[in-house]
Amino acid sequence: MTASPILEVNDLQVEFATRRQSLVAVRDVSFALGAGKTLALVGESGSGKSVTSLAIMGLLPTAGRVTRGTIAFQRGSGETVDLATLSQPAMRHIRGAEIAMIFQEPMSSLNPLFTVGDQIGEMLMLHSNLSSVARRAKVLEMLDLVEIPAAASRMSAYPHELSGGMRQRVMIALALICRPLLLIADEPTTALDVTIQAQILELMRRLQRELGMSILFITHDLGVVAEIADEVAVMYAGEVVERAPTRPLYAHPRHPYTQGLIASIPRPGRAPGERLVPIHGTVPPPSAMPPGCAFAPRCPHAGPECEAPVALTEAAPGQLARCVKLRELAAHA
């Protein structure tokens, strides 16, 4: 990772207050994202990826609260702020302008009653003092940049007049129009067809090259991670269980959960007859967390020693994993 990360999350813990108790949805999450780089946050649904990203944006639902840890963000001015404790008014200057977000559901993430041009232009209205003519020109330029055909006529279109892929392009245009330093993409391609997925990924890669922003890319699909990420953090049941640069992670996954995820990726090069190995069971909810390793109940290698809490430790240079049996597993491999 580069010398000064643009985003550094340290020991993040998020709790949700429910009627009876407080549930810990995310705990001990740490990662760092270098300027211009892409970090993928990977894990099954329910593992706390969205909660982590919303904590960074300061947009947790009312019941949710950051109860531990820091989220250090290096602003455009060079100043570093802790997003976990920043006031909402200060946060509003960062949101949209310096950190932007795109969401999983392109169908419902755009306001149905405003035109595409209005929704993108509003971003400039909030964060710049451009005239409405200048704003319009910039929106048009941005729509061209995200490769929306007939951009000028799309300006006055409503979201329901566009396909899912086009709407996601609109979301990307909206997110990037203020040239944010950090883009958080929460499963941006999950709701799309496979071919459209590939186009959107390609678009994001190209825009990153051209605009130079950092990307926190959230997905449950390790298959797309290899194409976009420099580094990966694998999340399971609210914790980061493994963190490594992309290449070593694919070559030598250290945590049994990561190994399971990689074994279950369908690959074109797979020999016919070679079986995909699904991981049985589901992520435990925050209310039913096992005492030690959260993955132990589903882990093929679990033993009695897995019932004690376990920290993220170095499994190989630059590669961290949260498993007590690391040595043993490495010896077997």
Partner: protein
């Protein structure tokens, strides 16, 4: 758009025609001689025969029906038995207090209910939300005649701030006539604000949970802008519907309130017409109210079109 409006207008005409038909049939289906019915119990057989002739009740039913429709289209809804004047005239004379009572009370309920409803939804579960919802329930369950009587007693009779009832003498000017509407408007406004508040709150709650509201927040705008621009516009459609319905209800007769405050409006007219078996007036009111509902419905739909471009014409 033009095609849509044309289609709607044709639909409206059909509804009005159906209502006219019902009004026509009711009088003829009622047991006994329609002429005797229209004339009331005190009529002599000679009067009835004369009226039967005048109304063409002796001609074939289809001819009668066409004549009735033709008259209605020209604005001739027959003569009131009690007032001995054209029904249209009688209705017009009663329209002013009812219309302004409806307008004022609707305005009062909007001013109370919409902001509180929005805020209650935004701060759902808070102290303010809970007290707003329970106050609304209370306000809706107190009968309006009781509120009306209390207001009359304390605000009018004891404090003397407002006139207690009536609508001014024949020579009272417009402003002083409107003064008589203050208390009844507040009474009706309170009752209706309960309903509108609950609707506003419910539709705002729905919308505030939508993904695009989260997108709006992610853009870095103020909460005020998120709620009033991005959420409210989406919540407006059900709110507009309930406002339209409330208004139609008000105009078709705030019967109880008009009686308590002795206002010479449509509500009072209908009640008296029923008591007096003044069939032409009942018939006429039915037609006017139906046309009004249809018009208000059309207006609400046109507002939808302006707000929501997804609505297909």
């Amino acid at each position: 758009m033009t095609r849509y409006i044309l289609k709607r207008l044709v639909g409206m005409l059909v509804v009005v025609l159906i209502v006219l038909t019902i009004a026509f049939v009711i009088v003829r289906l009622a047991p006994g001689d329609p002429a005797a019915l229209l004339l009331g119990p005190d009529a002599t057989p000679e009067d009835a025969a004369e009226l039967r002739e005048k109304l063409g009740l002796n001609s074939p039913i289809l001819v009668q029906y066409m004549a009735f429709l033709g008259n209605a289209v020209r604005g001739d809804l027959g003569n009131s038995l009690f007032f001995n004047r054209p029904v249209t005239e009688v209705l017009l004379a009663r329209a002013e207090p009812t219309t302004f009572l409806a307008l004022f009370s609707l305005l009062i309920s909007l001013v109370i209910a919409v902001p509180i409803g929005i805020y209650a939804a935004y701060r759902r579960g808070s102290w303010l939300d809970q007290s707003a919802v329970s106050t609304a329930m209370l306000a809706a369950s107190v009968p309006s005649f009781w509120t009306g009587l209390m207001f009359q007693r304390y605000l009018a009779t004891e404090m003397g701030w407002f006139p207690a009832s009536d609508y001014g003498g024949p020579d009272a000017d417009f402003i002083s006539r409107m003064g008589y509407l203050v208390l009844p408007s507040i009474v009706l406004g309170i009752v209706n604000s309960a309903l509108i508040l609950r609707f506003t709150r419910a539709s705002m709650l729905d919308i505030l949970g939508e993904d695009f509201v989260r997108t709006a927040r992610s853009k870095g705008m103020s909460e005020r802008r998120v709620v009033l621009r991005h959420a409210l516009k989406n919540a407006a459609i059900p709110i507009i519907t309930i406002i339209g319905l409330t208004f139609a209800n008000l105009v078709s007769g705030a019967v109880v309130t008009e009686r308590v405050f002795n206002l010479p409006g449509m509500g009072n007219l209908v009640v008296n017409a029923v008591l007096r078996r003044d069939y032409p007036v009942i018939q006429g009111t039915l037609i006017v109210v139906a046309v009004l509902y249809v018009l208000i419905n059309l207006m609400v739909d046109l507002v939808y079109l302006l707000v929501d471009k997804r609505v297909r014409y």
